[in-house]
Amino acid sequence: MTQSHTFQDQSLLTLADEEYRTVSEGRIRIRIGVVAFVFMLLIAIVRLAEISLFSSDAHLRDLPQALQMTRADLTDRNGELLATTLETYSLYAEPRRVWNPRETAGELVRLRPHLRRAKLQKKLEADRSFVWLERGLTPKERQAVFDLGLPGLAFRKEPKRVYPRENLASHMVGFTNVDMHGVAGAERAFEADLIADNAPSIALSLDLRVQFALTDELAKAREKFDALDANGVVMDIRTGEIIAMASVPNFNPNYPDTTMPETLFNHAAMSTYDLGSVFKPLTMAMALEDGVADQTELFQVQKPYKVRNKFIRDDHPSDVPLNMTGVLGESSNRGTAMIAQRIGAERQQHHLRGLGLLTRVEYELFESAKPQVQKRWGEMATVTVSYGHGLSVTPLALTAAIGGMLNDGVYVTPTVRKHSVASPAVGRRVFRSDVSQDLVDMMRFVVTDGTGRKANIPGYGVMGKTGTAEKPSATGGYDEKRLVTSFVAAFPHSDPRYAMIVTLDEPKAIEGTHGYATAGWNAAPVAGNVIRRIGPILPGARDRSQYAQAKGGVTP
């Protein structure tokens, strides 16, 4: 009995164990299933979250390559296109797949004659998987190469910088290298702004119409007077904007590699010259500012004048004493020397520093030469610098200085970016207002009655000053036959707004100049021609008082 009871109990226990195990296994399976399900659910949730929340910029990866490699456009102040980026085709070869390098090179040279056959063949024979053959092909050129059906040649789409205005404003715009990095001009100066994501186009300060007029007149003058080069600047003296800056010969920025190296040089900003008498208005302003001379005083310029045992020479000596306006109008070195001695070396340097003539022009472009300053600045240097010898500066630097003098005495640093109303130009006072007004009238006198008469364009109240300087001789001293002639001008007289300069390097005397190659005979008329063309274009260029004067019997 006991045994059977025991057996029964044991059987029940065994059954209970099996049921428990089965249930336990079932539970484990369910738990595994739940874990798997929850895991999958989590994956789904994470994926959903990734799609909806974290993939906002994923589409950028899918943008075409060209969009990411673009470079913002450059325009002039009126939105006229100066530089843009276009898609071009670059030809490359996979030399290992080229069947016959010699034949391939021959066919390519036949189609693209500027390529060198030997160099091309060497590239095609190289044990490499990739070599560039030519970059920047137009769609038409690409098709022509494609039609040759040569194996191993292929094309890659690449952006290329294009300059539709070609030579016009080439020095200011600059150019990029084959990898689209700016290497000169605005392309180099504004590199960071141009390559930024979604960068807007950059408007330069220049006006293409004014640039063309200036370049055209300079090119004509260079040819007419057989000059080595000619350069010029037109500047808005209130904002510092460079409206035009040209140097001829110039170059085509679409082909910078094939151009003559000397044409790449922007003489207006990179060449320093002893500019001669165009410095005299600055000397007059310094004297008036410091109160060491006044307009009523007469200077005895008719007599020989010596400084440190050296005679100061006047090309056309006056027979009578002259006041300051007369000294400027007759461009008397003697009168200017007398005034400079009163100013003294220290004050002269102080003023020149304020006018930015002892340092490079601090504008955006890298093309800006340092002035050449004398190491020993004694009395003789003070005298020679007063009439523009012994201190070599760029035409751009002098234009800015003259502009500062005539802009109510406020110097504004030049800029090649279009002026924004939101950020007004900041200037620094270099001369008093009354001094500035005196110089406005004195420089007007130079054009109406002095050496700059050939630049007198009716209606624009042109002010100016001629400057003729001899170039340093290789044997020491100066060479009388090699001249640099300049004319610095400003207009209108009633409310000066624009300053400009024209500089000719080694102009020659021609028929009609009576054997002279001085600024009054070449640079001044060229500046006049430029003003005649740009006056009607530029806002605020017309002189208000011209017709009023005419009515009052004063010929403008």
Binding site: D62, L67, E80, P164, R533, Y547
Partner: protein, 111 residues
């Protein structure tokens, strides 16, 4: 130690699991459609971006061509060869305020 469930509790438990399963299936299907839609939208964006880029490239080419054709140097050469038009010079323009000075009213007109 085994846990015993009553009949109704077991049914509720089974229903919960079933509902959870249905939710899982529904989520999976939704995910599939969302993903498909997202991929499709992505493709559309890519196509549109490509089309925009192509249009922009074409516009850039046209702008460059226009700039070349309108280049003052080129127009000047063409003008010299064909039209021989002259520039506007200072003597051709007059300010409005100067008209009275240039063309003064006669005594009769002033009356």
């Amino acid at each position: 130690m085994s846990v015993s469930y009553s009949g109704s509790a077991r049914a509720a438990r089974r229903m919960s699991w079933f509902l959870l399963f249905l939710i899982g299936v529904a989520l999976t299907v939704t995910l599939y459609f969302v993903k498909t839609h997202a991929q499709s939208a992505k493709r559309d964006v890519r196509d549109l971006s490509g089309a925009i880029a192509a249009e922009e490239a074409a516009i850039r080419v046209l702008r460059a061509e226009l700039a070349y054709l309108e280049s003052p140097m080129r127009l000047s050469e063409l003008n010299e060869g064909h039209l021989k038009l002259k520039s506007i010079l200072p003597e051709h323009e007059r300010a409005l305020r100067d008209i009275e000075l240039i063309f003064p009213l006669t005594a009769e007109e002033e009356k």
